[in-house]
C-alpha cells in the first residue's frame, strides 16, 4: 500500500524567491516512482517533475528540482525564481512498481506567489 503526506496545506513566496514544498511517503514496494503535479486554477493537472526511486541523482526541470531522500522517504519540491504563473495547488504522488500507473496523491499544497 502507498501513502503520501503533504504537511503544508498552504505556502506563500515572493516573486523571484525560492520555496520548498514538503512531501513524505510510505510504500512497501522496492521499485516506485514519485511525481509532482501542478493544478492551476484552471483545474488541469500538469506534470512538473518525476523521480525514479532507483536513481540517486535528484531530478531537475528548469526552475524545479527535487530533494529525494530515499531512506527518510522524503520527496520535496524546490521552486527557484518563483513566478506568478507558479501559483497553483501542488500534488505529490507515488506509483508503485507493480501498480499499473495507479497514482496515490497527497492532500495537496496551495502555493501563493506574491508580486
Amino acid at each position: 500500500a502507498q501513502t503520501v503526506t503533504q504537511s503544508q496545506p498552504e505556502m506563500s513566496v515572493q516573486e523571484a524567491e525560492t520555496v520548498t514544498l514538503s512531501c513524505t511517503y510510505d510504500t512497501s514496494e522496492s521499485d516506485y516512482y514519485l511525481f509532482w503535479y501542478k493544478q492551476p486554477p484552471s483545474r488541469q493537472m500538469i506534470l512538473v517533475i518525476r523521480q525514479e526511486a532507483y536513481k540517486q541523482q535528484n531530478a531537475t526541470e528548469n526552475r524545479f528540482s527535487v530533494n529525494f531522500q530515499k531512506a527518510a522517504k522524503s520527496f520535496s519540491l524546490k521552486i527557484s525564481d518563483s513566478q506568478l504563473g507558479d501559483a497553483a495547488m501542488y500534488f505529490c504522488s507515488n506509483a508503485g512498481g507493480t501498480s499499473y500507473g495507479k497514482l496515490t496523491f497527497g492532500q495537496g499544497t496551495i502555493l501563493t506567489v506574491h508580486p
Binding site: M45, L47, A95, L103, F105, G108
Partner: protein, 114 residues
C-alpha cells in the same frame, strides 16, 4: 488541439438520475484513467483501461461503470446519482500502463448532484 478532452465540463443533475461523462484523447496513448477529486481536493483513482482492457478497478460503488469503446475513448456512466457523487472527475491518459508513465489529464468535469 486538445490532448485529453472531457464532455461535459459542468453537469448539474438531480439525485437518482443517471449520467455519463465522456473522455477522448488524441495522443495515441494506450492507457486511460478516471480520477475523482472531492470537495477537499483529494484525488483518488477509480479505474484504468489499457487497450480497452480494465486493469485498475478501485473500490467504488457499482453504480459507477466505465466503458472503453476503443483506446482513444473512456466513458464513465453513473447510475442513481447520490449527493456524495458531487465532485470533479478527471480523465487522464498515458502512453503505457507502467508506473513510470507520465499521465496527461483532461480539464475535468464538475458534477453537482442536487
Amino acid at each position: 488541439d486538445t490532448a485529453v478532452s472531457q464532455t461535459p465540463k459542468y453537469l448539474v443533475t438531480q439525485m437518482g438520475n443517471d449520467k455519463s461523462i465522456k473522455c477522448e484523447q488524441n495522443l495515441g496513448h494506450d492507457t486511460m484513467y478516471w480520477y475523482k477529486q472531492d470537495s477537499k481536493k483529494f484525488l483518488k483513482i477509480m479505474f484504468s483501461y489499457n487497450n480497452k482492457e480494465l486493469i485498475i478497478n478501485e473500490t467504488v460503488p457499482n453504480r459507477f461503470s466505465p466503458k472503453s469503446p476503443d483506446k482513444a475513448h473512456l466513458n464513465l456512466h453513473i447510475n442513481s446519482l447520490e449527493l456524495g457523487d458531487s465532485a470533479v472527475y478527471f480523465c487522464a491518459s498515458s502512453q503505457g500502463r507502467g508506473p513510470q508513465e507520465t499521465q496527461y489529464f483532461g480539464p475535468g468535469t464538475r458534477l453537482l448532484v442536487l
